[in-house]
Amino acid sequence: MLEIKNLHAGVDGKEILKGINLSVATGELHAIMGRNGSGKSTLANIITGRDNYEVMAGSVTYNGIDLLELSPEDRALSGIFMSFQYPVVIPGVNNTYFLRAALNAKLKHNGIKEINAADFMRLIREKLKLVDMDEKYLRRAVNDGFSGGEKKRNEILQMLTLEPQLSILDETDSGLDIDALKIVAEGVNNFRNSDRAFLAITHYQRLLEYMQPDFIHVLIDGKIVKSGDKSLAIELEEKGYSWLES
C-alpha cells in the first residue's frame, strides 16, 4: 500500500530523513521507534503533506500513485489519516459539525451521498462507545477544553468515523495514563483488518504491548538502522537505543 524509496526530506532547508526505505502492505501494523529528533514526526508530516516540509530525493507511492503530487486534503480523501501528536484546538467550530464535514468530504469524494445530521448522530454514538467517550464531547468545539487524553481519544474517534485505509498514529500514547492507553489501543485493534494498514510512531514499548505490531523499525538520525518483529521492542526496552547508534 505504502512504498517509501530512498526518501531524503527535511524542514526549513535542513535534511532530517536521510534515505528511508519502507514498505507497508495492507493488513500490517508497522511501528516506528526512535529518540526525539530522529525524524519520526518528519516522516509523518511528509506522508501527510504538511507545508514547509520538503522532499529532497526519493519517492512515496500510495496504492501505486505518487503521493507527493497530491495536496494534503487529497491525500486524506484517498484514505490517509493521521492521529496528531498535538491535536490543535479549533475554537468556535463544533466537534460534531467538524466530523460530519470531514465524513461528507470523504463520501462526496467517493461519489456517495452525504450523510444527514440524524444518521450521523446515530453513527457517532456508536463510535463514541468504542473510545469510551461521553456525548458531551460532541457539544464542544474541536478539542476545546479537552485534556491531553481526551484529545487523543478524539483523534481515534475521528479515525473510527472516517475509516481510513492508512492510519498514522503519531505518538498517540504520549500523555496517556494506562487506562486511556488501553482504550486507545483497543479502539485501534478493533479497527484493524486485512484491508487497512497502520504506522504507529512511538517512543515507548508499552503501546506496542497492546497493539502487537507486525514490524518494528528503529529510526536513528534519519535512517532506519534496524527492522524486526515485535520482539525487537522488548530488546529496545531492555537496552535502549544506544546499542544501535554505533
Binding site: S71, A76, I90, V93, A102, N104, A105, K108
Partner: protein
C-alpha cells in the same frame, strides 16, 4: 460543505457582481455645497419652511467645524465641493402602487436581489426601497397601517408627521455632534421613518435597501425610529452599491428612541463596494453616526452589524442608557480584506440605575486590511449598579493585516461591575493543516473557522439575514488565504 464550495468557486475571481449602473435618467445637481444647494434640495422635496431652517442652521454649524482626524483611517482628503448633493430619478407623482414605478427601477431592484413582488408574497417583509436620494414604492403600508405602525420615507414623514419629526429629530444625534452628522443634517436626502405606537409589536421585520448610483453622489440618509411605550420593532438594513472609480461618501445618521418598556432591534448587513482588491482604489467611504436612546425605564436597544464592504468604515452605533433598568447591546462582525480599513465600535453611556450593556465585537483582518475596534463605556455618577460586559476578539488571516483595539472605560460610580475580555488570534497554519488532513479544503476550513468565530454575532441576526451574512463572509474572504 459542498454548497460553500459552490459559492466560493463562483466567487473566486468574480467581479463584484453588483458593479453596474442603471441607465435611467437621473436628475443630478452639479457638484458643490452652499446655501443655494440646500434650498434647492429642500424645495425639490417640497419641504416645509421649518425643515429648511433646520438644515440651514446645521449647515452654518458645519462650516465652523473641522473634519476629525483622530481615527486610524488613512484616506485622501475629501473635496466636499466636488460632490453632488442631490440625485434622483425623474420626479413623478406620488406613487400609489408598484405598477406606477418606473420599470427600469424595478429591474434594478430585481438585479439587486430584492424583487418587491416576491418579498410581498413570501417573506412578508415591508420594503421601503430607497433609490439614491429618493424613496420609491413603499409596500405593505396598509398592513402596517392596520397595526398603527408608520413606516415611510423620511421625506414623507416630514410632510405627514411633522410633529413627531420636530419632537425627535436631532434629539439623539444633535447637529453639532460631529462633522459628518452636521453635514448630514444640512443635506440629508432621504431615509426611513418608523413609528410604533404604544403597546404595538410590529407585525413584521422592517427593512430598507440602499444604492448609490451616480458618480460622486454623497448618500446622506437620515433615519428615525421611535418606539412608544411597550412597543417592539425589528429593523433590518442591507446595502449594495455599484463599482466606481471615484470614492463615494456615505454619511448617514440614524436615531433610535425607545420609550418605557419598548424594544428596538436594529440589524445591518453591509456590503458596499470595498474598493479594487488589487489597488485599493475606489470603494465607499462609510462614515455613519448611529445612536439610540433608552429614554425611559426598562427599554432596550440592540445593534447588530455585519460589515464586510466599504473601503473605509467609520461608525460607532451607540446607546444612551437613560432609563432605569435599560439595556443596550452591540454585536458586530467587521471584516477588512485587501485594502479595506475599518475604525468601528460602540459607545455605551450609562445614566440610569441598574442599566446593563453588552458589547461583542468580532474583527477579522485579512489581506492588507486594517481593523480597529474603538469602544467607550461610560458609567456616570448617578448610574447605580451598572453592569457592562465587553468582549472584543480579533482574528488575523495572513501576515500583512492589522488589528487594533482602543477600549475606553470611564467609571464614575463605585457600584459598577465591568467585565472586559479581549483576544487576538491567527488562523494558524496548524489549524488549517488539521482540517486539510481530515479532507477539508483550506477555503472550507477558513469559512468554518471564521463562521465559528462570528457565530455569537450571527445568532443575533434575524434568520434571513443570518444566512446572507454567512454567504457574505465566505465571498468576502475569497483569496484571503494562500
Amino acid at each position: 460543505m459542498s454548497k460553500n464550495q459552490q459559492i466560493l468557486d463562483q466567487a473566486i475571481g468574480q467581479e463584484y457582481e453588483y458593479g453596474f449602473t442603471t441607465d435611467i435618467e437621473q436628475e443630478t445637481i452639479p457638484p458643490g455645497l452652499n446655501e443655494d444647494v440646500i434650498r434647492l434640495i429642500s424645495s425639490k422635496k417640497d419641504e416645509p419652511e421649518w425643515m429648511l431652517e433646520w438644515r440651514l442652521k446645521a449647515y452654518k454649524q458645519w462650516l465652523k467645524m473641522d473634519e476629525p482626524d483622530w481615527s486610524k483611517l488613512n484616506y485622501s482628503n475629501i473635496d466636499f465641493q466636488a460632490i453632488s448633493y442631490y440625485s434622483a430619478p425623474k420626479p413623478k407623482e406620488k406613487l400609489k402602487s408598484l405598477d406606477e414605478v418606473d420599470p427600469k427601477l424595478l429591474d434594478t431592484y430585481n438585479k439587486l436581489g430584492i424583487p418587491l413582488e416576491e418579498q410581498k408574497m413570501l417573506a412578508n417583509v415591508a420594503v421601503d426601497a430607497v433609490f439614491d436620494s429618493v424613496s420609491v414604492a413603499t409596500t405593505f403600508k396598509e398592513e402596517l397601517g392596520k397595526a398603527g405602525v408608520i413606516f415611510c420615507s423620511f421625506s414623507e414623514a416630514v410632510k405627514n408627521h411633522p410633529n413627531v419629526i420636530k419632537k425627535y429629530l436631532g434629539s439623539v444625534v444633535p447637529t453639532t455632534d460631529n462633522y459628518f452628522a452636521a453635514l448630514n443634517s444640512a443635506v440629508f436626502s432621504d431615509g426611513s421613518f418608523v413609528f410604533i405606537p404604544k403597546g404595538v409589536r410590529c407585525p413584521m421585520e422592517l427593512s430598507t435597501y440602499f444604492r448609490i448610483n451616480a458618480a460622486n453622489t454623497g448618500q446622506f440618509e437620515r433615519t428615525l425610529i421611535v418606539a412608544e411605550e411597550g412597543s417592539h420593532v425589528s429593523y433590518l438594513e442591507g446595502c449594495t452599491a455599484p463599482m466606481r472609480d471615484e470614492n463615494q461618501l456615505h454619511a448617514a445618521v440614524v436615531e433610535l428612541v425607545a420609550h418605557k418598556d419598548a424594544e428596538i432591534k436594529y440589524s445591518t448587513v453591509q456590503n458596499w463596494y470595498p474598493g479594487d482588491p488589487k489597488t485599493g482604489k475606489g470603494g465607499i467611504y462609510n462614515f455613519v453616526t448611529k445612536r439610540g436612546i433608552c429614554l425611559e425605564a426598562n427599554s432596550k436597544i440592540s445593534w447588530t452589524q455585519v460589515e464586510t464592504g466599504s473601503a473605509l468604515t467609520w461608525k460607532y452605533p451607540s446607546c444612551i442608557l437613560k432609563g432605569d433598568n435599560s439595556v443596550g447591546e452591540f454585536y458586530s462582525v467587521a471584516l477588512s480584506n485587501n485594502f479595506q480599513q475599518a475604525d468601528t465600535g460602540t459607545k455605551m453611556i450609562h445614566l440610569g440605575k441598574n442599566t446593563r450593556s453588552t458589547i461583542i465585537s468580532k474583527g477579522i483582518s485579512a489581506g492588507k486590511g486594517q481593523n480597529t475596534y474603538r469602544g467607550s463605556v461610560k458609567i456616570m455618577k448617578g448610574a447605580e449598579n451598572a453592569r457592562n460586559y465587553s468582549q472584543c476578539d480579533s482574528i488575523l488571516i495572513g501576515n500583512e493585516c492589522g488589528a487594533h483595539t482602543f477600549p475606553y472605560i470611564d467609571v464614575r460610580n463605585p457600584s459598577a461591575q465591568m467585565e472586559h475580555e479581549a483576544s487576538t488570534s491567527r488562523i494558524g497554519e496548524d489549524q488549517l493543516f488539521y482540517c486539510n488532513q481530515r479532507g477539508i479544503s483550506t477555503e472550507d476550513a477558513v469559512s468554518m473557522i471564521v463562521n465559528g468565530f462570528c457565530k455569537r454575532v450571527f445568532n443575533e441576526l434575524p434568520m434571513e439575514f443570518a444566512v446572507e451574512a454567512q454567504k457574505l463572509m465566505e465571498v468576502s474572504l475569497e483569496g484571503a488565504v494562500g
